[in-house]
Structures are given as C-alpha cells and as structure tokens.
C-alpha cells in the first residue's frame, strides 16, 4: 500500500483539529509524534467555551446519580460480590452504551425495526409554577403511513393513505377531511423522532425512569428550533416520552403509558365505515393533481410552481397545497388588502411586504397570496420568489426617533415576567403597545388604522394616521424573539 504523504497527512490533521473534528489515526509513529507537537501548540490557546447549558446538564446528571441509593447495610459477601459485578457491568457495559451516539443510534435502529405499533399516549402541561395537568389521553394505532387515533371522548381520526376522516360520536357525524397537509399525525411519532435524531445534533443529558422502567434522556437540538428531550427505554431503545422546550411559560410532555410494537393490528381500524345513524359530511377533502395544468384547472387560477417539483400537489376548492417534506406551500387567490400580522417581522418578496413568523412566511405575488410553513420555509419560498429578502434583526431602526422615550429596564423585566406567566399578552403586539402608550399620553387612537411600516423582529415602527404623534418606535428590549415584549423607545411628533 502506498504510504500517505506525511506533509498532506499532517495538514489534514491540523485541519481536523481546527474544525474540532477527531483526526484520522496517524499512519506512522513519526506523524504521531508531530501530532503530539501540534496538540502542545494548540494547548497554548484558551479552550473553546462549553455550550451554555453544559453546567446545568452536568448538575442534572449529578442529581440523577445522587437519587440512586449508594449504600445498603448488612450485605452478605455474595451480595457485595454481586454489587461489585453490577458496578463493573455499569462501568464496562452500560455507561459506554449510554454515550450520546450509542443511545441515539440504538434508538434509530430500534425505530427502523418498527413496522406497526399500538399505544396509549398521554399529553400533559407543566406550568412555570411546577403544576402538571393532563390535557388528553389518546389511543393510537400506526401501521406504516396509516394511522388511527381515538381521543378520550371517542372522537377517532383515521388516515389510511387514500382517505382521511373523523368519526365524531357526540355529533353522530363522520367528517371527510383533507388528506393534506397532514404533518401533525400523532403527538409522539416514533418515526419522526428517529428522523430528528439522525438529522440533528443530540446528546445524552441524564438517566431517569418512565413507568418504572429505566430510560436514558436524550436531548435533540434542531438547528434554529427549540431543543427537546426524549426518554429512551433502556431495554427496547424506543422513545417513550418527549418533553418540549418551555413555550409561553408551559412545557408539554407526551408519554406512552403503554406501547406494543409489531403486534398484528385489526384492519378494521383503518377501514372507512359509517356507524349506523351517523351522517357523512364532506368538507372539501381535496384531490391530488399531478401537473401545473391540472392544478390550474382544479383551483381556477395559475399557481406559481417552483422549478423543483413538490412531492405532492393537492387541489382544494380555493387553494393549492404543495408538499415538500415537512414544508408546505399554500397558494390562493389574493383578496382584499394584505395586512401582515402585527407581531410579525417584515421582509420583502414579490415586490411587496413579506410577513415573517416563526416557521412561516406569507406574501403576495401577482394575484396570488402564498404561505410557506415548515423547517425549509425560507429556501422553498425563495424558489418561488427569487427577490425574497428576510428582515435583518441587527438592522436597528431605518431612522432615529425625533423624541426618545426613557425606559426603566426593571419595569420592563417585570413586564416580561408577567407575560411569561401568561398575563398582559398585549405587550407582544407592537400596535397594542403603541395604543397603550398613546392612551397614557391622553391621546385617543384607532388601533385598526395603525400600520407597521418597518419591523426587523427586534425593532418596529408603527405609523399613526392621526393625532399629535405620527410615528411610534418600539423595540424588543428584553428578549429578541416572538416571546419578547415590545417597549416604546421613541416617537415622531406630527
């Protein structure tokens, strides 16, 4: 075998170390010696800071460990020996197997073996005060792409691949539903969790038990999204619990209290049947179309189809839905005035304003109104509107206010805490904050007439059409995302 060029080999090792990758094993003892020298030089640099959440993860894992009993009195020699064997097993087998990559990999492999499952799923909310409330319990049957979900009140939703419908016993109705988009099938979808673990960064952050069974806690960090945690059953390697990040002072937990894997499922669960005495209600279930021409004929307008064809196109009476994996485009005929949501950031697309909300973009293009939602929203939207420009959160105001309003940060921090606790939600809307500011100055205003002429997501300018103040400048001072409150920082007199 040809010996690698030591200059190139050393160069590749330095690249790997610079990029914080583990370098390839050295081909010769000579290169191994040079790598040790490179590492010595690298040690002159300060280490990279650990991730911000590292300390809390570490403390959590220490807490987990302390919860386990450490010593038991009155052991006989064989009990001590079995304890030693268990510790040895823990150190040699379990701990290595519980490293980040192994847990995730074992989970992905276990999920790949799942063809069908049946389980009882519970959804609960935990408030910032630590109170937990069960929101619903549902029974789920999943077979490949087909699923059936029965809620506590007997309402059953089924998608069998060809049709989607909902049986509502309280109304004695079977409602036919659109088959697409259908991204939210079940709360804790095993396949979706497995795909996330393969795609996104993740790490083991602790050990726990779910329904008395030991589980590893895996944190999955979707880029740009909120990290969430998955409890992976140590015996089956399947996810049995998922806890979302805190959103609006609430944390959502999904737990499988029962889970059966690959057991036969009665086909009746996926068969469309109308119970005696029930009526069928058809609410525009949509039809799959295959070409832009078919789509135009079905919806009555000419859609904007990106160069990359969608996985599916579904035409409804008034709209066309294009599916790109988890990202969905909805196109409909534009009607009336385009008013972006007041709490959105503003970019530009199609020669006009672009409404930017978390995971969603909406704009007008020709005679169409287009909404794109999902993780790839920006890339898909750009393929429809090449002139699309996202707002720049670092941009600041386009011009400085004529009058600067003094801000008391202690008050603002308290306000943010109030909002996080579920109070004063109006502080999340710049037009309502403007209205409140004007009211405090004794100025009456018509909030519906306010328009937002600029919003980067962190800075916004609200135009006031009448009265002594023409323009109000608001800013997210405490937190620069959609959960951050707006504060008036200035205005222009008329």
């Amino acid at each position: 075998m040809k010996r690698p060029d030591p200059e190139k080999e050393l160069d590749a090792v330095i690249d790997a170390l610079n990029e914080e990758r583990r370098p390839e094993a050295p081909a010769t003892e000579e290169v191994a010696g040079l790598i040790r020298t490179v590492r010595s030089v690298k040690n002159l640099k300060e280490p990279a800071e650990p991730s911000p959440e590292f300390e809390s993860h570490l403390l959590e894992s220490v807490r987990q460990q302390v919860r386990q009993p450490q010593r038991r009195p009155r052991r006989t020699w064989w009990a001590a020996a079995s304890l030693a064997a268990a510790v040895l097993l823990l150190l040699v087998v379990v701990l290595p197997s519980m490293t980040r990559r192994d847990v995730a990999m074992a989970m992905v492999e276990a999920i790949q073996q799942v063809e069908r499952y049946h389980g009882i799923l519970e959804k609960s909310w935990t408030s910032a005060a630590g109170e937990t409330q069960v929101i619903w319990t549902q029974e789920i049957w999943v077979d490949g792409e087909r699923y059936a979900v029965t809620m506590q009140d007997g309402t059953t939703t089924v998608n069998n691949g060809q049709q989607k419908w909902q049986v509502r016993p309280q109304d004695q109705v079977v409602a036919l539903l659109p088959v697409a988009p259908d991204t939210q099938r079940v709360g804790l979808d095993l396949k979706a969790v497995g795909e996330d673990a393969q795609r996104y960064p993740h790490r083991v952050v602790g050990q726990d038990t779910v329904a008395g069974r030991p589980a590893a806690v895996l944190e999955i960090i979707p880029p740009g999204g909120d990290p969430y945690r998955v409890w992976v059953d140590r015996e089956t390697s399947l996810p049995v619990r998922m806890v979302t990040a805190w959103q609006n002072a609430l944390q959502t937990t999904y737990t499988y209290t029962e889970l059966e894997i690959n057991q036969p499922i009665n086909e009746a669960h996926f068969a469309f049947t109308v119970p005696d005495g029930f009526t069928v209600v058809e609410t525009d279930p949509g039809q799959q179309v295959n070409t832009p021409t078919e789509a135009a004929e079905a919806v009555g307008f000419v859609p904007a189809i990106p160069a990359e064809p969608p996985a599916r196109m579904i035409a409804y009476q008034d709209r066309l839905v294009l599916e790109y994996g988890e990202t969905t485009v909805v196109e409909r005929r534009a009607e009336g005035e385009f008013r972006p949501a007041t709490h959105s950031a503003l970019g530009t697309a199609g020669g006009g304003p672009l409404e930017v909300l978390e995971g969603s973009l909406r704009w007008r293009q020709g005679d169409l109104e287009i909404t794109v939602t999902g993780p790839e929203a920006e890339a898909v939207a750009r393929s429809i509107a090449p002139d699309l420009e996202m707002p720049d959160p670092a941009a600041g105001f386009p011009q400085e206010p004529a009058v600067v309003v003094e801000v008391d940060m202690v008050v603002e921090e308290n306000n943010q805490r109030q909002v996080d606790g579920g109070h004063s939600p109006y502080l999340l809307d710049p037009t309502m904050v403007t209205m409140s500011f004007l009211g405090a100055q004794g100025i009456a205003g018509d909030m519906d007439a306010f328009t937002i002429s600029f919003s980067s997501g962190t800075h916004a300018v609200v135009e006031v059409p009448s009265g002594p103040i023409s323009r109000v400048y608001v800013q997210r001072l405490i937190r620069q995302d959609e959960t951050g409150i707006w504060t008036v920082v200035g205005y222009d007199p008329r």
């Binding site: 160069d11 583990r22 191994a32 590492r39 280490p47 993860h57 220490v62």
Partner: protein, 173 residues
C-alpha cells in the same frame, strides 16, 4: 481549584449530601473541562468526557471526596475515560496521541512548565516557520488562507508547516 473546596463540603458530599455534591461539582467543573479540552481539542467531546468523569468519580470510592483529592480523582477518571474512548472507538490510534506526560495525573505546575517549554520553542523558530504555526494552529486558518496571507502556494505552506512542526518537536524534546 482545590483551594476553593471546603473540607466540610467535601465531607458532606462523601455522605451523599446532594446540595454539597452539586456545590462541589459547580466549583470544579470548569477546570476539569479545560483539563479535558486540552487533551481532546474538541468541545463536544470535552463535555462528554467531563460528564462521564464525574459519573465515574461519584460512583467510585468515598476517599475521592477528600478536599485535597477530589480534583485528582476527577482528572484521573477523565484520563481513563479518554483512553477507554480511544480503545473503543479507534483501535489503531491507541493512546499515541495522548501526551507522554498524560500517563500520570499532571499537576498545575507541570502544565505551566509544559506551556513555557512550548512557548520558548516557538520563539526559537525561524520567522517563516513561526508565522505558519501561528496562522495555521493558533489562529486556525486554512492552508489556502495562510498561503494567501504569506504570498506562497498551498504546497509551499504544507512543506514549511511540516518542517516547522518537526523543528518544534526537536526543540521541545
């Protein structure tokens, strides 16, 4: 770091007092992380190794909790974790990239002395050699960017870099 650890905290930790253990962990994790990072040169791996080192030490012997001993136990556990990982993950690499001095638990004085030796050796390199080492290793620039800044070809940079590291190795040894 050991100076920050109160004997009383260490004793309470040894008895399984959760608050004391957390306090001990808060006082020591940053230095252990830096210790590990210098050896693995990778943030993610340094975090994993640090966490596993605590896990091993806390599951280990009660004498680890002596105020003067805790950090040494952590460092030894961390080095063992690093070695185990290499054995498991890269049988060919063995421990060859571990520093020779990592075979024993180094103390702070060793670390300082080693840094001084490397710094002194760097100063004795020719200006070209030193510049390549600084740009490529300390600043982390790519070969292409280093070549652009020094007005050389990438092949020339690789040659200078190889010779510079060889010279540095000889200086250090």
């Amino acid at each position: 770091m050991t100076g920050l650890i109160d004997e009383e905290i260490a004793q309470r930790a040894a008895r399984g007092d959760r608050q004391a253990l957390e306090q001990l962990c808060s006082l020591t994790w940053r230095q252990l992380y830096q210790f590990v990072y210098h050896r693995v040169q990778n943030r993610e791996e340094a975090e994993d190794v640090t966490q596993e080192a605590y896990s091993r030490t806390l599951k280990g012997r009660p004498e680890a909790f002596s105020a003067g001993q805790f950090v040494s136990y952590l460092q030894t556990a961390a080095l063992n974790v690093i070695r185990d990982r290499w054995r498991r993950g890269q049988t060919q690499q063995k421990a060859s990239t571990l520093m020779a001095s990592d075979q024993a638990t180094p103390d702070a004085a060793d670390e300082v002395a080693r840094r001084e030796v490397v710094e002194h050796a760097l100063e004795r390199l020719s200006p070209d050699y030193r510049q390549v080492v600084e740009l490529r290793i300390l600043m982390g620039l790519s070969t292409a960017e280093t070549a652009r800044r020094m007005g050389r070809t990438e092949a020339a940079i690789r040659t200078i870099q190889y010779r510079a590291i060889k010279a540095l190795k000889e200086e250090i040894e």
